[in-house]
Amino acid sequence: MRLPRPMFNRSVLLAGSVVVTTSMLLAACGSKASETEASSAESCVDTSGSTVKVGSLNSLSGTMAISEVTVRDAIKLAVDEINAAGGVLDKQIQIVGEDGASEPTVFAEKAEKLISSDCVAAVFGGWTSSSRKAMLPVFESNNALLYYPVQYEGLESSKNIFYTGATTNQQIVPALDYLKEKGTKSLYLVGSDYVFPQTANRIIKAYAAANGMEIKGEDYTPLGSTDFSTIVNKVRTADADAVFNTLNGDSNVAFFREYKNVGLTPQAMPVVSVSIAEEEVGGIGVQNITDQLTAWNYYQTIDTPVNNAFVAAYKKAYGENKPTSDPMEAAYVSVYLWKNTVEKAGSFDVKAIQENAGGVSFDAPEGKVTIDGENNHITKTARIGEIKPDGLIYTVWESAGPIEPDPYLKSYPWAAGLSG
């Protein structure tokens, strides 16, 4: 039997994927055209009955499902608690769930559906920056509300999005402050090759230049990359004081196994990670990552009555072995912030919520958070954590109090020129 030229196989696949992507783009453009018409129409949110609908838009399939399902669970937990306590403005909240399928275009499409045909009062969800960027025009043109619960690269602010995860000055900058305080003089940057790590590393390099730190190397790997022998070899010979890790997903598994096996230790060269939360520790294998550092705003181990109640409620609802993590907590908080804003405004109206959001606060598991009315981000306490053999992360350092959000890093002189 004669074989086709083998390179043909990949070109067929490529052609197929190009066709699929193009048709999706076209579909997305098509829906955008119709949005502009919809925007002139009045909001169709129905508040006459005894219930009010909200959307929960998370990837329940595809590569991001691993993380986003937990966010959906956290949103549901908050809604159930609020309903049990009497609802919002005496109305029970009803969740309309949609699957973003790990595809930005699907997120945009489903957001449009939730706003225009389900008539939800607000939407909670999104994870990747690309999904948020895809949804942004949909929410702006419909003048609807999105509550986005994940730490991100900053440099954004929309009156239609409330950002309840950390921006860079509440996660990356404090992590750098911590390293500087510990006497770190040089860093090695390792990240996945996409927008968040690249932006984060630009900020880190600007910080390092202003604070006399040396960047010994900077390496990116394609998402999903599984061979780190070369990079770890480079890291080992560069001999930096610490490694700043913005790798995402399964790459972390291969990276930390290699790191440990060539004899690099958290004592000699600690790794600070910004994308590894409690759920990921198990997959990496806790023995490979014990004593390494993470930078977040929330850990399951925070010992306050509010957090203990949250952790207990989460485990009761979803299972004793399910850890709580930063993005889950931020999603849980976002629902309460929406409720508190609605109650302050006395209305579900988008304009009323936007006007009343500034100064609304909530006693969150991470500590008190307050919405900044200027940029729609929230104040957050930064925490550096250490991963321990039980698979949980324990706070080793925290900021003096909640840090004001500064998505464009305007208050940092060294960051001038970054947002341009």
Partner: protein, 294 residues
């Protein structure tokens, strides 16, 4: 100097990983001409086999060795099932085979996700494989040495089996001239199934070994699939030695380019080199010369 040694070791190790992932494919694709896009999922099945065996056998060393055997059988059984139910019906339609097996791959990924969950699971490496060995200033993880040895053993075993055993002779006969082999009394059906069993079984073995260095998640197999095809195509269809040389060549090339540039750029440069190579030598490094007219 220790950088050079380190990168030589890295290249050798990467080559052996590619070789292990591609060896099964060199049988099913190289010898039989079946484009099996589910090959990556057979590797993934091997990874999960290692995980399941480790839940039963708590001694990590013993469970690794048991997994290698069980992984071979699991991968092989899945391969035979796929061959008997689907692939045998489309030996004359390679493009259909490509699409169908791609679909089967997606189904297998989803099954893995439903059974084991989407997050990666952790397969603990045995104590005697933790840490590294220092060679002239460079540190090579013991897990990578284990994979190197395993790949070498698998190649030698496969080459010997193909060369010396009656089964190997039948496989080679069918590959070289199917009609003539049938006329000489060889059941080409049975030979096809055997070949597919061994090829898929080797994917399972690769999966078990790869848990030592990488993650075990439903999409694990995908990351090795393209590389495996690349190795077989560059090596030339129908030759084990081509696969071996191509795997090592790509491994060394990749590690040296990556050291001097970046991981993303290294992939690009590597692909460009391979595209040029295939322009000059579309048949790959080695080919089987036969007197058949196909």
């Amino acid at each position: 100097m220790d950088v050079l040694i380190g990168q030589l070791a890295t290249g050798l190790s990467l080559g052996s990983i590619l070789l292990l992932a591609a060896l099964g494919l060199s049988l099913t694709f190289g010898q039989m001409g079946v484009i099996n896009m589910a090959h990556g999922e057979f590797i993934m099945a091997g990874c999960y086999t290692a995980y399941v065996v480790q839940q039963v056998v708590s001694n990590t060393g013993a469970s690794l060795l048991i997994s290698l055997v069980v992984g071979f059988l699991v991968g092989g059984a899945m391969g035979v099932l796929l061959e008997v139910t689907l692939i045998q019906r489309m030996y004359d339609r390679p493009l259909d085979t490509l699409l169908v097996t791609f679909g089967v791959g997606l189904i297998l990924q989803q099954i893995a996700r439903d059974i084991f969950g989407a997050p990666a699971v952790n397969v603990v490496a045995p104590e005697w494989l933790s840490g590294g060995v220092e060679i002239l200033g460079a540190v090579v993880p013991k897990t990578r040495i284990f994979i190197l040895v395993l790949a070498a053993v698998a190649v030698v075993a496969l080459a010997t089996a193909l060369k010396a055993s009656p089964m190997g002779r039948r496989i080679r006969a069918v590959v070289q001239n199917r009609d003539l082999a049938e006329t000489s009394g060889i059941s080409s059906r049975r030979t096809d199934i055997t070949t597919f069993f061994i090829g898929s079984g080797l994917a399972g073995v690769a999966g078990v070994a790869l848990t030592l260095i990488g993650s075990t998640s439903p999409t694990t197999g995908q990351s090795y699939l393209i590389d495996a095809f690349l190795v077989v195509v560059v090596g030339g269809l129908g030759q084990i030695k081509g696969t071996v040389i191509a795997a090592l060549g790509i491994g060394f090339l990749n590690s040296f380019i990556e050291y001097n540039t970046t991981a993303s750029l290294a992939k690009v440069i590597l692909f460009v080199i391979i595209v040029f190579f295939l322009q000059v030598r579309p048949q790959g490094l080695f080919t089987v010369r036969t007197r058949s007219l196909v």
